[in-house]
């Protein structure tokens, strides 16, 4: 089980790095999604998944009778997924705004912030 998860995580990370190195911002987002899922899978594997014993304590006992699956990694993953969703929505909107404003999703041509000759436009700053 762990070997399969490890291999799968490895493939996902490899794919995500390939996508993120692309000059296209849309591919970057897909790479990011893939990478965050790969990390979630890694945390899942870190909890030593075990199919046989659900983490339930039988009635009348105060502690588990047998070795059981660890439920904490799932709580961690759930948190990471929720945060990941929020971030992803923000990134999608930000990249879309960047596309509308800069007119490109090719990172090669995105240099508005680094253009030394360009002045920050007056509306950039609050002035009163």
């Amino acid at each position: 089980m762990e070997t399969v998860l490890a291999l799968l995580t490895g493939f996902m990370v490899a794919g995500s790095v390939y996508m993120m190195l692309s000059k296209c911002l849309v591919r970057f987002i897909f790479g990011l999604v893939l990478a965050s899922n790969a990390v979630n899978l890694l945390i899942f594997a870190a909890g030593r998944p075990d199919t046989a014993h659900p983490p339930l304590i039988p009635g009348g006992l105060s502690q588990p009778a047998t070795v059981m699956a660890n439920s904490l990694p799932q709580a961690l993953i759930l948190t990471a997924i929720v945060i990941g969703f929020a971030i992803l929505v923000f990134v999608f909107i930000l990249f879309f705004r960047a596309y509308e404003t800069l007119g490109t999703i090719n990172t090669e041509f995105m240099n508005a912030a680094e253009d030394l000759s360009a002045e920050p436009s007056p509306q950039n700053e609050g002035q009163q």
Binding site: L42, P73, I87, T101, L102, M110, E119, G126
Partner: protein, 499 residues
């Protein structure tokens, strides 16, 4: 019960919520923000006083005992960082009153600023790794939004780069966190200290520590991971730049200090040497980058990088004096750097541009601003008797004591090169006569808003104060360093038994 320990986190978040109710009332929002920030500053003072008098305090949230629940813990380093956050927070909200334009206010500037500070305070206070990840995300979300609020071309472009690399860094951090959980079965930093020392596989621990080093190195702006910083920090409004420059990279440095003192104390495996090498290269490359620029905020952005090198240098030396130097440097740097960014706003208001070629004449027409720039700028370069001199002196002495003469020389030379950049700004913006075309006559009649001058003056006064009586600050920094080098007390307070 130590419930008050959560106050520096709860306070900004409640203000953010209340502030959202009054989005259309700038004066209400600004008043609330100023009240909140000063209250936060007061909490910081109290926290430091309590910590200094009674030692490390811990709060087990939900009364779940330490390795099982999330704990907040305040030691000297944490209390000092909360205090200095309060200083920058207060200065920035006062400055914002005159600096931030109405549309940006209506888009929710103040709530986001509160959330940012809440996230930063959380990151300083927590002693749980996963919780630290959550605070990082809270902080990042607020900073993403603050960065692109003006929706200009350069902000969106800088924003894309900032967001992309920071998300990657967070993923690396999360990966390290997952692996460390697999290795030790705990995420509490104090508990990890005990568990990892007993780990049977030091090689794996070293690999995971490098993941953390890379993740925090990106956030701190360490060589060779800093390229996002000068690409984005000069784009948002000045008040936002100031709080970013003062606090965000320093959260990365703080996390790195915690990681390499508490979780992975240095052993003989070359990681310490790697950190030292990164620190020196960061110092040198940052200052050279600054020398090549001619726009105030770009110069200052590169100086952030250079200064982060000094702090990490102290961590890499890992002696009590060096760590005290790092803490001293952090405190000095946060005040001085935020202040310089705030002053860049004054230069811009005067000359209409951040470009030094278009500025000039400030010394002649606005001597007080020249004086206010002079103090933090020369403190940054390490002139006696300003705060930067003591910070650099401690680190250089620590390098010499540890037998790294080369590092001491590098630190001194970087100080000189910093002086070069600062004199460049001084000559161009202050001493040079105003260019005929740039500054019109109307500008010469204008007055700087007292809302902008007051925080700049207060922080300059603080710089002079630290410079003239460094002893109390050094004592506090030294106390923090002693706690960092011997985390026994921290571990005992948090998990209830000695490592």
């Amino acid at each position: 019960m130590n419930g008050w320990l959560a106050a520096p986190i709860i306070l900004p978040f409640s203000s953010a919520a209340i502030s959202l109710l009054g989005r259309r009332h700038p004066l209400f929002q600004s008043g609330l923000a100023i009240a909140t920030a000063f209250l936060h500053l007061g909490l910081g003072v109290w926290l430091l006083y309590r910590t200094h008098m009674t030692g490390i305090t811990v709060l087990h949230l939900g009364s779940w005992q330490a390795p099982y629940g999330i704990a907040l813990a305040a030691d000297h380093l944490c209390a000092l960082m909360i205090l200095i956050t309060g200083v920058v927070y207060s200065a920035v909200v006062v400055y914002s009153r005159a600096d931030i334009r109405k549309e940006i206010l209506e888009r929710g500037y103040y709530p986001l600023l509160h959330i940012l500070v809440g996230g930063i305070s959380g990151a300083f206070l927590t002693s749980d790794l996963f919780n630290l990840y959550v605070w990082f995300e809270v902080m990042l979300m607020a900073s993403f939004a603050l960065l692109v609020m003006g929706r200009t071309r350069s902000q969106l472009d800088g924003g894309v780069k900032y967001v992309a690399i920071n998300l990657l860094s967070t993923l690396l951090f999360l990966t390290g966190l997952g692996l460390i959980y697999a290795l030790s079965g705990t995420l509490n930093m104090a508990h990890l200290h005990a568990k990892l020392q007993a780990s049977s596989d030091p090689g794996l621990v070293a690999v995971v520590s490098m993941l953390f080093f890379t993740a925090f190195g990106i956030k701190a702006g360490l060589f060779p991971l800093f390229f996002w910083l000068p690409a984005s920090y000069h784009t948002p409004p000045v008040a936002v730049s100031a709080i970013f420059s003062g606090l965000l990279t320093k959260v990365g440095v703080y996390a790195m200090i915690r990681a390499f003192t508490l979780i992975f104390p240095f052993v003989d495996n070359g990681i310490r040497e790697l950190i030292l090498a990164c620190a020196v290269l960061t110092m040198v490359i940052g200052v050279v980058g600054a020398a090549s620029h001619n726009e105030v905020r770009r110069i200052l952005s590169f100086h952030i990088i250079s200064q982060v090198g000094y702090m990490v240098l102290g961590l890499g030396l890992f002696t009590p004096l060096a760590l005290a130097g790092t803490v001293f440097y952090l405190l000095h740097h946060i005040v001085v750097k935020s202040n310089l960014f705030l002053i860049s706003g004054l230069i811009r208001q005067w000359g209409g541009s951040f470009d030094l070629a278009k500025a000039g004449g400030l010394y002649r027409f606005r001597g007080i601003v020249a004086l206010l720039f002079f103090i933090p700028a020369f403190s940054l370069a390490g002139f006696p008797p300003l705060s930067g001199f003591w910070a650099k002196l401690i680190l250089i002495k620590a390098s010499v004591d540890a037998g790294y003469i080369g590092l001491a020389i590098a630190a001194a030379v970087v100080g000189l090169l910093t002086l070069y950049s600062m004199t460049k700004i001084w000559n161009e913006a202050f001493w040079k006569p105003a260019p005929q075309t740039g500054v019109n006559e109307a500008a010469k009649q204008m007055h700087f808003s007292p809302w902008m001058i007051a925080p700049v003056a207060a922080m300059a006064a603080l710089t002079v104060f630290i410079g003239i009586c460094p002893e109390p600050v050094y004592q506090l920094a030294r106390a923090a360093a002693d706690e960092l080098l011997d985390p026994g007390a921290y571990v005992y307070t948090v998990v209830g038994h000695f490592p």
